[in-house]
């Protein structure tokens, strides 16, 4: 074997390593960890992971706890409120920014900057603003309107909406950016044609521009919905899940089982249930995307 072919051989090996190590890490850990946690959800693991088989017992006990049931109900309410209101706010901001205003760049930066901040910071700041003893309510009371009440943070029925408010503040800029990109890519001839037909600005929007946005709207809704399902930090920093269990969410229940109650088996079962919730959203979306691509490819 010549030195030259040895060099070529070692270069080939380096190529294989560089290609496959990152790919196997990123694809492999997803498969391995999903299988691992799923396996754990069928074992009697408590403080430490152990092997063994308990069938569906962890699932039935998680589904039977009040903690999980309330968390899931909260997720439905929070998910619906957060996703719909954030998307609508984002759309409103995008339409506003689409009016070719002066200072558009500045406004866009202002609506987007919350995205750069962590949920921990967002949650902390909103917990001050919404705290009736030192936030907005206190300010208005000090102004002289002593009867003013804005105490959702400590109100069991309304506390979940404080998470929605903070979530909208943080994420609506993201929705706005996507909608704005969509608005800006609407065919100019289409708009002109509508104007020639005598459509006013509002009719042009509702009849011509907005209908072209719906693929983006679907993408925005799916992305926001998966944010909602994974929400953890925001609740930890804003309400800690309280008052009582009023703002408990599935992601917090998983953490609680795994690291506070020392029940890895049940925590894993709750994590798998979270994943299934997520797949319930993502699988139809993925199927729809593939269907669209096939249709576009066919012609």
């Amino acid at each position: 074997m010549t030195a030259r072919s040895a060099l070529a051989g070692s270069r080939r090996l380096a190529e294989y390593l560089v290609i496959w190590v990152p790919l196997l890490l990123s694809a492999g850990h997803v498969v391995l960890f999903t299988a691992w946690t799923t396996w754990m959800s069928f074992t009697p693991s408590t403080l430490l992971p152990v092997n063994g088989w308990v069938g569906w017992r962890n699932y039935t006990s998680v589904l039977g706890t009040r903690n999980w049931q309330i968390a899931f109900d909260n997720l439905l309410l929070f998910g619906a409120g957060f996703v719909i209101l954030t998307a609508l706010t984002g759309l409103l901001l995008a339409i506003l920014l689409d009016q070719r205003m002066r200072g558009e760049n500045l406004l866009r930066s202002i609506f987007l900057y919350p995205m750069a901040v962590s949920f921990v910071v967002t949650g902390t700041v909103w917990s001050w603003l919404l705290n009736p003893g030192m936030g907005i309510q206190k300010l208005v009371n000090d102004w002289g309107w002593t009867g003013f009440r804005f105490d959702w943070l400590i109100d069991r029925d309304m506390a979940i909406w404080t998470i929605v408010i903070a979530g909208i503040w943080q994420s609506s800029g993201f929705a706005m950016a996507l909608f704005l990109a969509g608005l800006r890519s609407v065919d100019g001839d289409l708009i002109k044609a509508a104007q020639i037909d005598g459509a006013g600005p509002i009719r042009t929007y509702t009849r011509v521009i907005l209908p072209t946005l719906w693929p983006i709207a679907v993408a925005v809704l799916v992305i926001l919905l998966q944010f909602a399902i994974k929400t953890f930090d925001l609740v930890r920093a804003l309400t800690g899940g309280g008052p009582g269990l009023a703002t408990q969410l599935p992601a917090l229940v998983v953490y609680d089982f795994m690291f506070q109650r020392g029940h890895i088996g049940r925590g894993s079962a709750a994590a798998v249930l979270m994943l299934l919730t997520l797949l319930f959203v993502l699988v139809p979306y993925g199927g729809w995307k593939i269907y669209q691509q096939r249709r576009a490819a066919r012609g």
Partner: protein, 285 residues
């Protein structure tokens, strides 16, 4: 008549934009103003107000003196931890992701579609599905409660995002260019260095901003896999708010929150334009 209506509409649009902008700025203004107000002043009035006396000392206290979970070092060590995790993990995941994205998009080896599907799945897989496996992996490789452990986790997880971003971007490089380079005898690395990398700055900027803000802002792994003075700043802020619940020190807490948010705000301020452009191009596709 029509002109008057149009200018009224214009005024209303501007008024709405300005009002909304103020609403979005209030939380930032509240934190920054409180960071220079004394605890007594905040307690007497509310969290929302203009400073009567400027308490710039809050920043010094928050940075190096304030007690977080019985350790009176301020937030300085935690900021350093976050930097020591965020910078290496951002660089590593971006570089590896660029190579992986290049391999998937332009070399089309057997099984590339499957690998790509799994990488995409990694973007959506909840962190809760990975907590226990990571705990065990960290224990087995001896990196429990270390910054190196966090760098490893964020690099591997970040690969899903960086590979996806780069793959989508590199798809627009024409296959003919690849063919010509291969006929000239260029191999995997030379094509990457000579053709792909020079075309990459727009996507690398997006990837770096995305990874930096995500890793800096990450909380769950930080609080789960590290304790005490090994924790990143997000976990320290939660621990700090527990101390503040005992003795109200909202001025100092506001200063800490401001400092903690500053790196990502600066990254966003200087790179946000590219980021939005890349994000919208990638996500709408």
């Amino acid at each position: 008549m029509g002109d008057a209506r149009a200018s009224l509409a214009r005024t209303l649009i501007y008024a709405a934009a300005v009002l909304l902008a103020i609403a979005y700025l209030v939380p930032l203004a509240v934190v920054v103003l409180n960071s220079v107000r004394s605890a007594e002043e905040i307690a007497q009035t509310s969290m929302i107000g203009w400073p009567r006396a400027w308490a710039f000392g809050n920043y010094g206290t928050a940075w190096s003196e304030f007690c977080i979970a019985q350790t009176c070092t301020g937030i300085r060590p935690y900021m350093l931890n976050s930097a020591l995790v965020t910078v290496p993990a951002t660089v590593l995941s971006t570089l590896l992701g660029a190579v992986a994205g290049y391999a998937i998009s332009l070399w089309r080896f057997r099984g590339h579609a499957w690998i790509f599907g799994l990488v995409t799945l990694g973007v959506f897989l909840p962190e809760q599905m990975r907590l226990i496996p990571w705990t065990i992996v960290l224990r087995d490789v001896g990196l429990t409660n270390t910054l190196t452990g966090l760098v490893m986790i964020h690099t591997v997880q970040g690969l899903s995002f960086t590979t996806l971003f780069c793959r989508n971007y590199y798809l627009s490089i024409p296959q003919d260019l690849m063919k010509a380079a291969r006929i000239d005898g260029a191999g995997f690395f030379r094509i990457f260095a000579r053709i792909v990398l020079p075309l990459s700055p727009p996507i690398l900027i997006v990837t770096v901003i995305w990874q930096f803000t995500h890793i800096w802002n990450e909380f769950l792994y930080g609080v789960t896999f590290t304790t005490g003075t090994q924790q990143p700043i997000t976990a320290a802020l939660i621990a700090l708010s527990a101390s503040v619940a005992d003795i109200p020190q909202h001025g100092v807490q506001s200063a800490a929150v401001t400092i903690a948010a500053l790196p990502t705000l600066l990254v966003y301020l200087f790179g946000g334009r590219y980021f939005v452009r890349g994000l919208t191009a990638g996500a709408v596709k």
